[in-house]
């Protein structure tokens, strides 16, 4: 967020220079050049209403229209396009997000520029903008909320006497502000003290929006670090990193090792698909001592959510020996009462051997977990092949695939049938 703020100011600097050029080239033609002027004039404080085209046509234009106007201008104006290219961002998805945010804020600025002091219908404008935030993917961006808050006129809605205090002063506007805060809270955005200052300038200190703000501020600060599996504020866009995050969240063994392999789809294609796999030394040890007569199952795909992004994962499971969960009956317990077998008495004390480890659950023993790019059966077979490097015993244990997706057939894999046709390359854990 810090970065984006810096870039924004940089951009605006560019804008000033661009607008001064474009003003001379095409004066008063189209929203685009007008918007540039708006951006410029807003900062120079000498904005004139006469330069706005939209004003005469549609003074109550909703947010959507302003947004489209700015968007078209960005697409049509070559200079602007170059500026909003966001060269520092490598990923196209991130670029698009940054652009959307920029346009959103500029749309609000354009609205402000066009509607001047009286800003008629701004409550409706804000409601419209709030609705558009999710589709525009700016719903987790505090700057955008702040831009919306800046639309409210300052000072005029502060109650001046006891009656205004007693009854909600400008109730529609207050509700609108509460709605902004409500949405911001809903999407897990934490308001900063600048928001408080803004509310104070608009509505004064004692009012509904301020109460809402205080509550959010109090609770979110306490909750923001409570999640033991805290995700970064902006989730990565790289699917490998997402997979690694998901696996890290699920793998309970503290010694767990995450590995990412990249394998090609088949011999001819150069496209590399990733397989992210989580396995701990303890799990490898359990595979090493696994009897060849008992099969290992690969099951899935199960779903895990990273905030609002789903990931499909698969587990390698085997049946647990039920005897380790059998608790001694009361009679047995009484019979063996205080009949300890300590580590100093014998080489293999019986009590020590019986404790189930963290992977041994009653419904099965988990031997590994993975997330693949395609989530298809072939990718899981590749996963098993990759695992065989560290677990040579997997070659001789029968492996049963029972997948809920995409086909429901079970497939039995044996070592004879497996030719290592696919080239696998190891790559270190990306994090």
């Amino acid at each position: 967020m810090f970065l984006s703020r810096i870039n924004r100011s940089k951009l605006l600097k560019y804008l000033v220079t661009i607008s001064s050029i474009s003003k001379s080239k095409h004066p008063h033609c189209g929203i685009g050049s007008e918007h540039l002027q708006v951006s410029n004039n807003l900062r120079c404080n000498n904005f004139s209403l006469s330069s706005c085209v939209l004003e005469q046509n549609n003074s109550k234009a909703m947010f959507q229209e302003y947004y489209t106007a700015v968007l078209t201008e960005v697409h049509s104006n070559e200079r602007l396009k170059a500026v909003t290219n966001f060269q520092h961002l490598s990923d196209p998805i991130l670029k698009e997000r940054a652009l959307k945010k920029w346009i959103f804020i500029e749309a609000v600025n354009a609205y402000l520029a066009k509607n001047g002091e009286n800003r008629r219908g701004y409550v409706e404008f804000i409601y419209d903008a709030l609705e558009q935030m999710k589709p525009l993917e700016v719903h987790r961006d505090l700057d955008c909320y702040k831009a919306l808050i800046s639309i409210f006129p300052k000072g005029m809605m502060i109650p001046q006497n006891v009656w205004q205090h007693a009854f909600s002063h400008y109730p529609k506007q207050q509700d609108c502000m509460v709605e902004i805060l409500e949405q911001l809270e809903h999407f897990g955005v934490i308001p900063d003290t600048k928001v408080q200052d803004a509310i104070e300038e608009i509505f004064g200190t004692m009012n509904n929006p301020m109460r809402k703000y205080r509550r959010i501020y109090y609770m979110t600060r306490k909750f923001q670090n409570r999640n033991p599996y805290k995700l970064p504020y902006d989730l990565p866009v790289d699917p490998i990193q997402l997979a690694v995050l998901a696996l890290r969240k699920m793998a309970v063994d503290l010694e767990n090792e995450l590995k990412v392999w990249k394998v090609s789809r088949d011999e001819n294609s150069k496209e590399k698909l990733f397989i992210a796999s989580a396995q701990s030394p303890l799990q490898r040890e359990m595979i090493h001592t696994h009897p060849e007569s008992k099969p290992i199952y690969v099951e899935g795909g199960y779903r895990v959510w990273l905030r609002d992004i789903p990931q499909t994962y698969f587990v390698m499971r085997t049946d647990t020996d039920p005897s380790i969960f059998v608790r001694p009956t009361e009679e047995e317990e009484l019979e063996n009462l205080f009949d300890f077998d300590t580590i100093f008495d014998s080489e293999k004390p019986k009590q020590l051997a019986l404790k189930p480890n963290v992977h041994q659950q009653e419904e099965g023993t988990i031997l590994g977990m993975c997330i693949t790019e395609t989530s298809c059966k072939d990718s899981l077979i590749s996963w098993i092949r990759c695992l065989q490097e560290a677990n040579p015993r997997l070659e001789s244990i029968p492996i049963v695939f029972s997948l809920a997706t995409p086909s429901k057939q079970a497939l039995v894999l044996r070592s004879e049938g497996m030719q290592p046709s696919q080239q696998s390359t190891n790559s270190p854990d990306p994090s």
């Binding site: 003290t193 317990e333 205080f338 009949d339 300890f340 300590t342 580590i343 014998s346």
Partner: protein, 653 residues
């Protein structure tokens, strides 16, 4: 004085009589007990020998005067029973024995003060070969080896006394320990006659050194998890050893190794199983490589390195004990060597206290001698008392070891080790503190002693493991006896009489004077005797509470096990101090009043610790903070380290 003794003696006899019958001892001379305090040996009059005619006459002669088995003192404490005999501090049989021992010690002591340059050993990181040869000439490499194999044949007491002197240089002491306390102990304990004849003479002179190879990268305290393998060849005559051992004391200079390895054993049902076996391995067998000596914090002169066995052939005659019986041998070796750490620690501390006292007497600060400052006095009192307790415990244990044929004193030996290793570390640190900046300098020996002392808490079983050892063994002993009663208590409605008994016991909160321990002691130690009795009873209460609460899973409750072990340690230390002081007072030894004050202080402080531990056990996990400890540790582990936010952190918003 004599009157008291004889009065006490009469009661003593009565009780003793019962015990004699119980432990199948055929004969007892009552008069002997009267004489115990008067420096007459009990043992001489007790000539019942458990040996049949066919047995080795010499061995029988050696065992003459020894009783067969002792009542395990600390284990009994867990049942609330106090073996009063432990209050009678044992002593050597005759005045001549002491003289003889002193004669033996004197040249060694002289040699150590004159010829052993600890500082250069520490800097060089090696004991000179010449020095080892000279030590061998003194016979110090065969302290416990019998005369017939060329050793000094010291008993436990003599060995402990010798350790006190050899501890002047920790590197040498550890080399000795690696050689004879563990290295060749296996041959002494479990070796056949042939094995002894073959190896002991050379080991006794120091011509060959021995090493004890148990620890492996994957197996430290957990001896049973070793990976080294010994496979029997097809002709059944040789084993082939494969594997690597680490941190082997004397590993680079030893010629004879006691090696533990897993072998395949078939049991009666025909199941094959991997079990530990002990082997005597000569370097000459081939296939043995030693790594380069490890660079260590302390005991830098002792040789510690890795030892690798690559298909080393070991003839089947070199199996120690029986195949598959290695675990027992390893435990026995380790258990038998621990008691001497008390006396060696005390030897080191006595020297340090002397040095530090010199400094405190001569140094002036603020126009006042250092010795007049309360904070300095406190340090010296702590050091002296700790040393006194350490010494008392060590010799109580050693002397008892010598007076039984099959002594059951492994718990006591572990207690000595835990107490003295921690005492050494704390006191070495305190003595360094007395000197302040000077103590920190390499020109003075304090920092070396401190570094050397650190290993004591780690080797021969870490103190944590030994605390578990103490508590678990005692609980096991107590559990056997409490089993039936606890069974009844688990169903109180069916067994109202048991419940009634239990309720009555619980309702009497305060201990009652029933043991009359003061009757065994000098009258001035009455108060200390009462403390001892009181806290024995409290210990019993704590044990019963834990057994009742946790049942079989008590062995996993390590917080409580540690507390029980600490209580046992303090009680044993109190017993040793009180017994020794009583003896000194009765005999009128030099500075006996000083001993008395030290015992009084030690008992006071020990009771403090006992109180804390008892309260913590009785109050449960919520109030003694155990649940908090668990939570904190869990968080640290899930976060892979210190988990709290930095004090300068602010939430971004």
């Amino acid at each position: 004085m004599l009157k008291i003794i004889s009065l006490n003696g009469l009661k003593h006899i009565e009780r003793k009589f019962k015990r004699e019958v119980l432990s199948n001892l055929s004969e007892s001379n009552n008069y002997a007990f009267l004489c115990r305090h008067c420096s007459k040996a009990v043992q001489q009059s007790k000539t019942s020998l458990p040996y049949s005619k066919g047995q080795d006459a010499k061995l029988a002669l050696k065992q003459k005067g020894k009783r067969q088995k002792n009542i395990p003192f600390v284990k009994e404490l867990f049942l609330g029973r106090f073996d009063k005999e432990m209050l009678l501090f044992p002593e050597l049989d005759k005045y001549e024995d002491v003289e003889h021992l002193n004669e033996l010690i004197a040249p060694v002591e002289r040699f150590f003060t004159e010829n052993v340059d600890s500082q250069s050993i520490d800097i060089e990181g090696e004991i000179p070969k010449e020095l080892i040869r000279q030590l061998g000439e003194l016979g110090l490499f065969g302290q416990q080896i019998p005369h017939e194999y060329g050793g000094l044949e010291l008993d436990a007491t003599g060995y402990a006394r010798m350790a006190e002197v050899t501890a002047m240089d920790a590197s040498v002491a550890v080399t000795f320990a690696g050689h004879q306390a563990i290295g060749l102990k296996g041959i002494l304990i479990a070796g056949t006659r042939e094995q002894k004849e073959k190896y002991l003479p050379k080991l006794a002179t120091g011509e060959q050194l021995a090493a004890f190879c148990l620890t492996e990268p994957s197996s430290g305290s957990d001896a049973a998890s070793i990976q080294t393998r010994a496979t029997l060849s097809e002709d059944g005559k040789t084993f082939h050893l494969n594997g690597g051992k680490i941190w082997i004391t004397n590993g680079g200079i030893a010629d004879v190794f006691t090696v533990f390895a897993k072998t395949e054993v078939t049991d009666e049902q025909g199941n094959r199983e991997d079990k530990m076996t002990a082997f005597i391995v000569e370097r000459a067998f081939g296939g043995i490589t030693s790594g380069k000596p490890e660079d260590k914090l302390g005991i830098r002169g002792s040789n510690t390195c890795e030892v690798h066995f690559d298909n080393t052939p070991v003839p089947i005659e070199n199996v120690l004990g029986e195949v598959g019986g290695g675990f027992k041998i390893a435990m026995n070796i380790l258990n038998s060597g621990r008691f001497s750490m008390g006396s060696s620690g005390a030897g080191m501390l006595k020297k340090l206290i002397g040095f530090a006292a010199e400094h405190a007497i001569s140094r002036t600060q603020f126009k006042e001698k250092l010795m007049n400052f309360g904070l300095i006095q406190e340090k010296f009192s702590t050091m002296a008392v700790t040393t006194y307790a350490m010494e008392s415990m060590a010799y109580l244990t050693a002397l008892n070891l010598d007076s039984y044929v099959e002594p059951d004193l492994s718990v006591e030996a572990a207690i000595v080790k835990v107490f003295s290793s921690e005492g050494c570390w704390n006191c070495a640190s305190e003595s360094l503190q007395v000197l302040g900046g000077l103590g920190y300098m390499k020109t003075y020996p304090y920092e070396r002693y401190l570094r050397d002392a650190r290993i004591l808490m780690i080797f021969e079983g870490t103190n944590e493991i030994l605390r578990l050892f103490i508590a678990m063994n005692c609980l096991k002993y107590a559990g056997k006896e409490l089993k039936e009663f606890q069974k009844l208590l688990r169903n109180p409605l069916k067994n109202p009489s048991a419940m009634f008994l239990f309720m009555r016991k619980m309702s009497s909160r305060k201990p009652k004077k029933v043991m009359h321990l003061n009757e065994e002691l000098h009258p001035t130690l009455q108060h200390e005797a009462w403390m001892l009795e009181q806290w024995t009873q409290y210990l019993e209460k704590a044990v019963q509470k834990l057994l009742r609460q946790y049942g079989n899973s008590i062995i996993d409750e390590q917080f409580h096990l540690k507390r029980l072990a600490d209580m046992a340690i303090d009680l044993y230390a109190m017993t040793a101090c009180i017994g020794r002081t009583s003896r000194s007072l009765c005999m009128g030894l030099k500075n006996n009043d000083h001993e008395k004050t030290m015992t009084q202080l030690f008992c006071k402080e020990a009771v403090h610790r006992l109180e804390n531990n008892f309260e913590a056990i009785m109050s449960g996990d919520q109030s003694n903070g155990d649940d908090l400890r668990r939570q904190i540790a869990e968080k640290v582990f899930t976060e892979h380290g210190y988990a709290a936010s930095h004090p300068l952190t602010k939430n971004k918003f």
